[in-house]
């Protein structure tokens, strides 16, 4: 009984994780410029994958340790790649959406150069 | 295990394979047809990453592992290194719109 409940909970977590990933995909399509798209892509996929991992962990408790490691790796690598990409995108001066209100980094590097 | 669950499991893998196959063919077409070389290399990397998941679905985890380890960074890196060194000789913009 308990095991069946845990299974159900795991499947629900899996479902919620997929919903977040879907939202990330939607954000990727709808957001106006690169930086906003990076935001949408990184946050949602990180949480979505973490939820998926915990869901699978509930479905198959034997795999828990390895799933935990995958989650840790993703927590460290995902924001790092997002940051490196954002830095590169800013350096090559990609067009930002006209909605952008302020860009302190461009101001500062403009002064330096 | 009931037959419904079994059916769903096999449909799930088939559906995944179908999705991946479609994505691979599309990415390969991008790699061939797009004007900018960096995008072509990136698309080839995407093809090999998807190939790795497809290998896993084909029950070949060893091959999937090799493809993932090599396709994720090494090949892409080799291409981009040479591209960075020959960039002066070609007049290609790094973005394509």
């Amino acid at each position: 009984m308990i095991a069946a409940l845990l299974d159900l909970l795991g499947a629900l977590l899996l479902l919620v994780g997929s919903v977040f990933m879907l939202l990330g995909g939607l954000g990727l399509v709808r957001m106006p410029d690169v930086f906003n798209r990076i935001q949408a892509g990184t946050k949602t996929t990180t949480l979505g994958t973490l939820l998926t991992l915990s869901g699978v962990g509930l479905l198959q408790p034997d795999w828990a340790l390895k799933l935990l490691l995958i989650g840790l790796f993703i927590l460290f690598t995902n924001p790092l790649s997002a940051q490196v990409l954002a830095r590169a995108a800013h350096r090559i001066g990609l067009r930002k959406t006209p909605l952008t209100r302020v860009d302190r980094l461009a101001e500062d590097t403009g002064e330096d150069a | 295990m009931s037959s419904l669950g079994m059916d769903l499991a096999s449909n799930l893998t088939s559906g995944l394979a179908l999705l991946l196959g479609l994505a691979m063919v599309l990415a390969a077409l991008v790699a061939i047809l797009v004007r900018s070389t960096p995008i072509a290399i990136l698309s080839a990397g995407l093809v090999s990453l998807f190939a790795s998941v497809l290998f896993l679905i084909l029950a070949a985890p060893d091959v999937a592992m090799t493809e993932a380890a090599i396709g994720s960074g090494l090949t892409t890196f080799l291409f981009f290194f040479v591209l960075a060194r020959v960039r002066g000789g070609e007049s290609e913009a790094s973005d394509d719109d």
Binding site: F20, L23, G24, L26, G27, R30, M31, P32, D33, F35, N36, I38, Q39, A40, T42, K43, T44, T46, L47, L50, L65, K66, L68, L69, L75, F76, P79, L80, A82, Q83, A86, R87, H90, K96, T97, L99, T100, R101, V102, D103, R104, L105, A106, D108 | -
Partner: protein
């Protein structure tokens, strides 16, 4: 390896946290505690630790005080809560038809000195509501903000950085 090697780095004590983390990961990977796994794990960890004397681990610069461990737990809890909040926030933005974004890149200040603490701070900021670290230079962080509330340095610092810095300062000093 490092051009500047301080006495502290030479003493070999700095390697201990890295070795501990490596061994921990090794045991988790193998999911076993048999003497075979442990002996190979110790060999491999020593080898990697020797090759990468400048290697870091989340434990490397962690202060070994109870307060610091408590702050670590608080950091993890705060981070997870913020992660969920950021996703809900993003879901609201993405699902609303008129896409209410108001982006900008603001400049904030951090007091942290330790590389590991700064990395954790930047990663945490990237995963929290509406913010994305673009560049980290000296004491300045440049953060892309989906909905800019204030372009003022101090106000933005209080809004974005302070929540995590409180914990990280106790942990890494």
């Amino acid at each position: 390896m490092g051009s500047v090697t301080t006495l502290h780095e030479l003493s070999g004590l700095t390697m201990v946290p890295l070795l501990a983390i490596l061994l921990l990961f090794w045991v988790a990977l193998n999911a076993s505690l048999s003497w075979q796994v442990l002996s190979v794990g110790i060999t491999v960890s020593l080898l990697i630790g020797w090759l990468f004397r400048r290697g870091l681990s989340p434990l490397t610069e962690l202060r070994a005080t109870p307060a610091s461990y408590r702050a670590g737990l608080g950091f993890v809890w705060h981070f997870l809560r913020e992660l969920v909040r950021s996703n809900l926030n993003l879901a609201r933005v993405v699902l609303s038809p008129d896409l209410p974004v108001n982006p900008g890149i603001v400049k904030v200040r951090t007091r942290l000195q330790s590389p590991m603490g700064r990395l954790l701070l930047a990663n945490a900021i990237t995963l929290t509501p509406g913010t994305l670290t673009v560049e980290l230079q000296d004491e300045w962080l440049y953060v892309h903000w989906v909905q800019v509330e204030s372009a003022d340095i101090d106000a933005a610092t209080a809004r974005i950085v302070a929540g995590f810095e409180r914990y990280l300062e106790v942990m890494y000093g």
